[in-house]
């Protein structure tokens, strides 16, 4: 009997210790970023909104389920077309900002793609965001404001205005 209690004690101690060291496991929910609340969340600089818990995929969110109905942002797990650009900027805000400043990168290319820029104009797109970086992102920018600033910059560029269809 004593032995059994001991082993139970040690096993639960192990469980406690494992969970203690795995702080990352504390799941944070994705905000409904990009669908109204996004700007708010980003200005409070709460990056953990996209810090999903890890592990064997200990993470889930109704927002992106399949067939569990629709929400503000997604329909059956697919991002609604009119939210695609904004959600992309919201969820990649920091890395995208960095790529805009350097004028290249996979995320920046993806944004160009979402704006409908033809593949031969993508490098031009990077150049434009780099040259105008200080105008596009400022301290109180929100994903929505960044998106509209980028769009207006693209519109005022002769080449891009023609080759980007989703602005």
């Amino acid at each position: 009997m004593g032995k059994r209690i001991t082993s139970i004690l040690f096993l639960s101690a192990a469980v406690v210790a494992v969970t203690m060291t795995s702080t990352a496991v504390e799941a944070k929910k994705y905000g409904m970023a990009g669908c109204g609340l996004g700007s708010l969340i980003i200005t409070t600089n709460d990056k953990t909104q996209i810090f999903a818990a890890t592990s064997n995929g200990i993470y889930y969110n109704q927002t992106f389920g399949i067939t569990s109905g629709t929400s503000n942002c997604t329909a059956d797990g697919v991002v609604k077309q009119d939210k695609v650009q904004e959600l992309f900027i919201t969820m990649n805000y920091d890395s995208l900002g960095q790529e805009m400043a350097s004028g290249k990168g996979e995320k920046l290319e993806s944004l160009g793609n979402l704006l409908g820029c033809s593949s031969d104009s993508i490098s031009r797109f990077g150049q434009v965001t780099k040259e105008n970086y200080a105008k596009l992102i400022t301290e109180d920018s929100t994903p929505a404001s960044v998106l509209s600033a980028v769009k207006s910059e693209v519109k005022s560029d002769k080449i891009l205005a023609k080759s980007c269809s989703q602005i």
Partner: protein, 661 residues
């Protein structure tokens, strides 16, 4: 008695038709869906003609033994239990149209046929069964040659829109490597990416299919326990792939490996139809076996009927092992891609820098001075700035609070970067870690012979999984350890065999501490050990319960010309407790302090260390442990080790042979 659920249903229908109250919450709509499906599963069509046709189909299905078809079993996740009856792995009732659907393949198939004849109007937010179960419908239609004149085919706009927006040209299995700061994720993780042709040059915009547990409101305590015992429901979800890349690559700095699978058009259609159905299914989630990787294999088996893989792993389904299984299938994996983590990207840049550039970089990442480097011909300012920006993101990726001064510096640097025009090129495709398929097998047996101050001994070891400090580190996190049920049985000359040690869980996570990464290292061992003690001048051995937790820091020349060439030095401090009758008050506990060193070089590895243990707190004698081990690996599966161990009242030397399988 009037059935309560019908009453609920009526109330829901009534209130929702008023339109005056709040729209249905998610939970309500799932419940309504479930109730409706059960009714549809028993549906008898109104017209006698349709009734007649339904009867014909049911009879034909029975004659053809369709419910015993392998595809039906797979669709429904039916597995034969130990007691010989069928049971579906799906654990929520909403997936079944028949009340006994979980245990009865035939009844579920008949209920499915019934439901396809539903001619009642479909409530808002719900779907006709033909649309909820497109793969069941498609398959049965093919097998039974549905006559669309006698069974009206329903249009499924929601499903069609969904399918068109995913529209994969091929699938990729994505493996995300280990996240050492969280033991539960040391297994790695797999998901599926749907490669849409439209996104050929912007793969981040693809969708990913993820199977994961739904912990709900999580409390760290119940998490491990429930994860091991199936206490959480797991389900499928789809995500934009960039969310997953953010999470793994950037937030947790895990390298990602992508394996593109060949996919025929009809397999693609089957995959999508079935994935849609899986939106209704919940499973009990088990870390060890019914995990992410297991369910991905099953879903791929539905899509590719000739594939037969889900029975291949043992009772532990390790994500890296499933990658080996995919690769072993002829022609299944057509290409492979590596996606470096943020930390790896910083390393690439560092390796490319000159001494001078490095010095500037290391000065800048202190952030405190917040200076902008002066332009100089010998400095590639864009390279340095990019590395600093990466480092900032790496450091604050998971932090809520960023010091204001650092944030301001970061913003200033971004503007500074946008004004630099020098170019640099770095090849990020030579992986900084090894792919999962290079890893050794999980289980291990070993046999040893040794001499000790208490006589000669022979020993047998067995470990279910996974990886220890002396195993070859290819495909694993370097210098780290994760073991379940590592057991040693030993027999001394002229004595009975004894259980020397058994670690229920043993985790060692060695993370380099440097100016970029401030992660800590830790070590946990819990289970049974053998304590050596002295009683009236006689040295005795006895098995005791053991709990050992240490934390600290590790150091290495990670960024040098030959990274890690000097080995890894680890300093740890912590607590250790053991219980046994021979101790004062039946227990000894106290603080300990260890210094460990390890170095791997080709097939060789050296591991050595010393630990001082203070038991005075518990009125027991203090002790120390010292160890020196060398391993030589003949291959991924055969190893030879020599070790010398000593402690206060005992010394031993042994040689052991290890076989991994």
């Amino acid at each position: 008695m009037f059935p309560l659920y019908l009453l609920t249903l009526f109330i829901i229908i009534f209130t929702s038709s008023l339109g005056a109250i709040e729209p249905l919450g998610n939970a309500d709509i799932l419940e309504l869906d479930f109730r409706t499906s059960r009714i549809q599963g028993e549906n008898i069509p109104k017209s006698p003609k349709a009734q007649q046709y339904l009867q014909e189909l049911v009879n034909e299905a029975k004659e053809k033994h369709l419910s015993e078809d392998r595809h039906w079993y797979r669709l429904m996740r039916f597995k034969k239990t130990r007691w010989g009856f069928w049971e579906s792995e799906v654990d929520n009732k909403r997936y079944f149209l028949s009340e006994s659907g979980k245990y009865n393949p035939e009844k579920e198939l008949i209920a499915t046929l019934h439901s396809f004849f539903t001619d009642e109007p479909i409530l808002d937010g719900l779907l006709h069964p033909q649309c909820s179960y497109p793969e069941r419908y498609h398959w049965l239609k093919e097998k039974l040659n549905f006559d669309s004149g006698r069974l009206a085919e329903v249009k499924c706009p929601r499903f069609e829109v969904w399918k068109d927006s995913l529209n994969p040209d091929s699938l990729s299995v994505i493996f995300s490597s280990y996240y050492m700061q969280a033991p539960a994720s040391m297994f790695g993780h797999t998901l599926i990416k749907l490669n849409n042709k439209v996104n050929e040059n912007a793969e981040l915009l693809d969708y990913g299919v993820n199977y994961a547990a739904t912990p709900g409101e999580m409390n760290a305590f119940s998490y491990s326990y429930k994860g091991l015992t199936g206490g959480y429901p797991g389900s499928f979800a789809i995500f934009p792939y960039y969310l997953k890349v953010n999470e793994y690559n950037d937030m947790e700095s895990r390298d990602i490996w992508e394996y593109k699978l060949k996919l025929k058009p009809e397999e693609r259609e089957r995959f999508l139809r079935h994935l849609w159905e899986m939106g209704r299914a919940d499973f009990d989630y088990y870390f060890i076996n019914e995990n992410c990787s297991y369910h991905l294999m099953e879903i791929l088996e539905v899509a590719m009927p000739e594939l037969n893989i889900s029975n291949k792993p043992g009772w532990i389904v390790a994500p890296s092992d499933t990658i080996k299984i995919y690769l072993a299938e002829d022609g299944l994996v057509v290409s492979q891609k590596y996606r470096p983590s943020l930390y790896s990207k910083i390393k690439y840049k560092l390796y490319d820098m000159t001494e001078e550039e490095r010095t500037t970089y290391f000065d800048m990442i202190r952030f405190e001075n917040a200076f902008l480097p002066e332009p100089k011909e010998t400095l590639r300012l864009s390279l340095i700035t990019d590395a600093v920006l990466d480092t900032y993101r790496y450091r604050y990726a998971t932090k809520n609070e960023v010091p204001k001064k650092h944030k301001e510096y970061y913003d200033k640097l971004l503007v500074f970067r946008s004004k630099q025009s020098d170019e640099y090129n770095i090849n990020e495709q030579i992986p900084l870690s090894t792919p999962p398929e290079a890893s050794h097998p999980l289980s291990r047996v070993a046999t040893s012979f040794g001499a000790s101050s208490l006589g000669n001994f022979a020993e047998f070891q067995y470990r279910i999984a996974y990886h220890d400090l002396l195993n070859v580190s290819k495909g694993h996190a370097p210098n780290s350890e994760l073991a379940f049920f590592d057991t040693t049985i030993r027999a001394y000359e002229n004595k009975k065999p004894e259980l020397t040690s058994m670690s229920v869980i043993k985790v060692t996570s060695i993370n380099p501490f440097n100016s970029i990464s401030k992660d800590f290292s830790y070590m946990l061992d819990t289970g049974v050990q053998t304590a050596v003690y002295r009683n009236n001048d006689e040295t005795l051995r006895k098995q005791v319960g053991n709990f050992d937790l240490r934390m600290g820091y590790s150091f290495s020349n990670e960024f040098g010309k030959n990274p890690m060439s000097l080995g890894v030095l680890t300093v740890l401090g912590g607590v250790k407790a053991q219980n046994g009758r021979m101790f004062e008050n039946n227990v000894r506990y106290g603080v300990n302090f260890s210094l460990l060193y390890q170095k791997e070089l080709g097939n060789w590895k050296v591991y050595t260390g010393a630990t001082a243990q203070n038991y005075q707190l518990s009125q027991n004698l203090n002790t120390y442990y010292a160890t020196f081990k060398i391993r030589y690996a003949f291959s991924n599966t055969h190893e030879l080790r020599v070790e010398v161990n000593g402690e206060r009242f005992y010394e031993e030397a042994l040689i052991s042979y290890h076989y991994l399988f």
